[in-house]
Symmetry: C2
Subunit: 466 residues, 2 copies
Amino acid sequence: MEVTRQNFKDSLKTVYSAIEEADFLAIDGEFSGISDGPNVSALTNGLDTPEERYTKLKKHSMDFLLFQFGICTFKYDQAKSKYIIKPFNFYVFPKPFNRTSPDLKFICQSSSIDFLASQGFDFNKVFCHGIPVIGKVEGLFTSSEKTLDLEPCTGFQRKLIYQTLNWKFPKGLHVETVETEKKERFIQVCKVDDEERKRREQQKLEREQEEVNDAVGFSRVIHAISKSGKLVVGHNMLLDVMHTIQQFYLPLPEDLPDFKEVTMCVFPRLLDTKLMASTQPFKELITNTSLAELEKRVKEGPFKSPLVETAEGFHSYDTGQEQLHEAGYDAYITGLCFVSMANYLGSFLTPPKPHISARSKLIDPFFNKLFLMRIIDIPYLNITGPDLTPKRDHVLYVTFPKEWKTSDLYQLFSAFGNIQVSWIDDTSAFVSLSQTDQVQIAMNTSRYAESYRIQTYAEYIKGRQV
Amino acid sequence: MEVTRQNFKDSLKTVYSAIEEADFLAIDGEFSGISDGPNVSALTNGLDTPEERYTKLKKHSMDFLLFQFGICTFKYDQAKSKYIIKPFNFYVFPKPFNRTSPDLKFICQSSSIDFLASQGFDFNKVFCHGIPVIGKVEGLFTSSEKTLDLEPCTGFQRKLIYQTLNWKFPKGLHVETVETEKKERFIQVCKVDDEERKRREQQKLEREQEEVNDAVGFSRVIHAISKSGKLVVGHNMLLDVMHTIQQFYLPLPEDLPDFKEVTMCVFPRLLDTKLMASTQPFKELITNTSLAELEKRVKEGPFKSPLVETAEGFHSYDTGQEQLHEAGYDAYITGLCFVSMANYLGSFLTPPKPHISARSKLIDPFFNKLFLMRIIDIPYLNITGPDLTPKRDHVLYVTFPKEWKTSDLYQLFSAFGNIQVSWIDDTSAFVSLSQTDQVQIAMNTSRYAESYRIQTYAEYIKGRQV
Ligand SMILES: Nc1nc2c(ncn2[C@@H]2O[C@H](COP(=O)(O)OP(=O)(O)O)[C@@H](O)[C@H]2O)c(=O)[nH]1
Ligand SMILES: Nc1nc2c(ncn2[C@@H]2O[C@H](COP(=O)(O)OP(=O)(O)O)[C@@H](O)[C@H]2O)c(=O)[nH]1
């Protein structure tokens, strides 16, 4: 279903009930660009820490716009032994909805735009008929509703939201924590009563009310997903999650632990099919984990294509055909990949089970781990806990003149057998030695070198923290 | 005529002949945004020098995209006593035309996009079918043509182009000045012969050749305008000129004098209708010089609407009707305003002349002066010479705590009668006194002040140059 400003209100019930009845849902976003840096590979280093990677993505990718949001809901029909799916394509655009709303600027990358154009993407649906969006919390303050209840959260999440609200809305705002009958604590945000200003603004506000309801509209879809607690599946979904939070919720927190907390507020249960496909027992079976290749791979043995039926009234996709690269379709095939891989896990049970539900314990190990692209030794970002801290004591940080090439590094370390080079910039790189005990020898050899300098990874990290 | 990638080649002849036969032409650009700063007014100060203004516009406005270029050619038909017009709307987009071409990033401002959307702008024509563009000079280096002859230029212009070429293409490039039979000197740029690389690349290049020809295509339209030497009319056209040069020609020069030189290379004769309408004898007659208002104003006495006929095969605009805000239409009404104002000048002749041609001496005083928005005492940028340097010896530069408001400044200078405040930032402003001899008194009074500080404008400028 294509959803634009024109049919957004009428579609909301359909969206809500699709989410409510689903066993799980898959999401995908289309962006106006991917990386605002000189180039992606120069920005992502193979030995980034998760903190560094988060900071880089936040700095270089968040100025792009998420302008198409795809959701495909999957509901298992026991009687028919097949999934009933409902795919949605939301076109979203941050239309300034009145004169006081911020005039958002976003970056477009001509390669991304051109790619979408070549796939027949309809830009008018975004720019002319996109569903207006303003962050959920911001929405409140231009509406005449006096209070907004946020979802129940942990104490730390509440602290975070307090901070953000205070920073964005220093005045005229009352934030307090309220307890539900079920003893859940949630945050209530109230506008401070200011009788005089209120009277003057009342009329204006009423006129704007309807527009604002539309405007916070798309955030409501995200809210419905959060509230449902349903499993949300995506492919290589870290950027999708970051953009969703940033654009429809709250500005991204400064630090990684805070980002994890907010993510759990917005998406309580996530599964990344790229990470799943890169992990045992799939790793051995799947050589190329890009979405298009993965989708082809899981159609062949030992995987089985699940039976799927498109719900009445929804556009039916055919994976056999060349398809538009649209978010709803990508969400759909992401869901298919998930089902095929999950069902494969059922073949190890005694007796084997052909269908594994989204609630099965078998998929628990894949929850809330988001694939980290091009990091050598940390496969995923762990949203619900501390990240892996692989030993990097075989890694050297080397600085040198900018004329050096990879071959110079190979030559320098030629005595040490196999090495792996991860460029940082023109004049520095990480060099991973194959044996840790070589590190001390390399350090000793370098002591009197003038053209280059070597530090251990530990020294390098220490130096950065100062 | 709507021109996209699909009909660009077939339209080129029509475009060239329209330019060739025209008495003058009007241009207008539509951008993806206007100002990348916190807000326009904070960026433009009423006492900016022309240099400062150029630097600010270059820094904060050039990351937007010019994606629709309007040209309307005007040819006077003596027999019919009317102008025959040919309006063109070019949709242009910097599609990366192969894997080595730069992946351009551009900024969109949601207010600008939304404004165009509300006027029915067709974004698919830009993003899906936009005429690809690469700078004229850059185009060469991906094409297999070996040389490119630039237009005859002055020595200084040649120096400029040399510098730019050396900076952008440090290697593999030979630049020399060649003389024509008519003793005009022009620059010839050659790729250095590198036999080995050439052979390897030959095949690939040939395949790309056609694409490149398309790609440099839109720059050819600009080139045709330059070569024609025709009068080019625009409304408040400084940004249009800057974007045109930047996007279709060469990166904008660092300094204002160099920008002026390049501008004269690209557009040898310019006229800005906003500047014309703000100057004697029009100033007294025209209170609002915005394009839409000006267009209405010159339909009434003492102005006369010129007779205009749209050439066969071109879309005919009706100024009586609410119109799409498209570049071709805006160019058209800009041309109409110019004709009405020029003809009004004819009424002062004895005997009065109802039609004044684009070649008339009467309009010479308006040539090559581009309107400067919101500068109090410098109405225009003088492209063909030094700028006006108004006396600013009644101006004070005042710094103060950021809590100060305009009223604090009025109070501080309450003894001096009328003052004019031009905010620079939170903690500084220019204050213009009504009498120059008050400056010394103000300076004396401030000597022992602790919360604020006053400098004369001359001291301020001197301080900045250090
Ligand atoms: N001095 C030097 N720097 C390099 C070399 N290769 C890569 N780099 C630097 O490392 C950065 C990342 O390189 P890489 O990961 O290979 O990605 P790339 O930028 O796509 O080539 C580059 O942007 C350069 O600054 C080299 O051979 N010599
Ligand atoms: N301290 C102080 N700064 C001001 C005041 N008014 C304007 N400014 C500063 O001057 C800049 C330009 O202001 P102005 O030209 O009025 O444009 P504006 O930004 O659209 O209000 C603002 O961005 C502020 O930094 C004021 O009353 N007090």
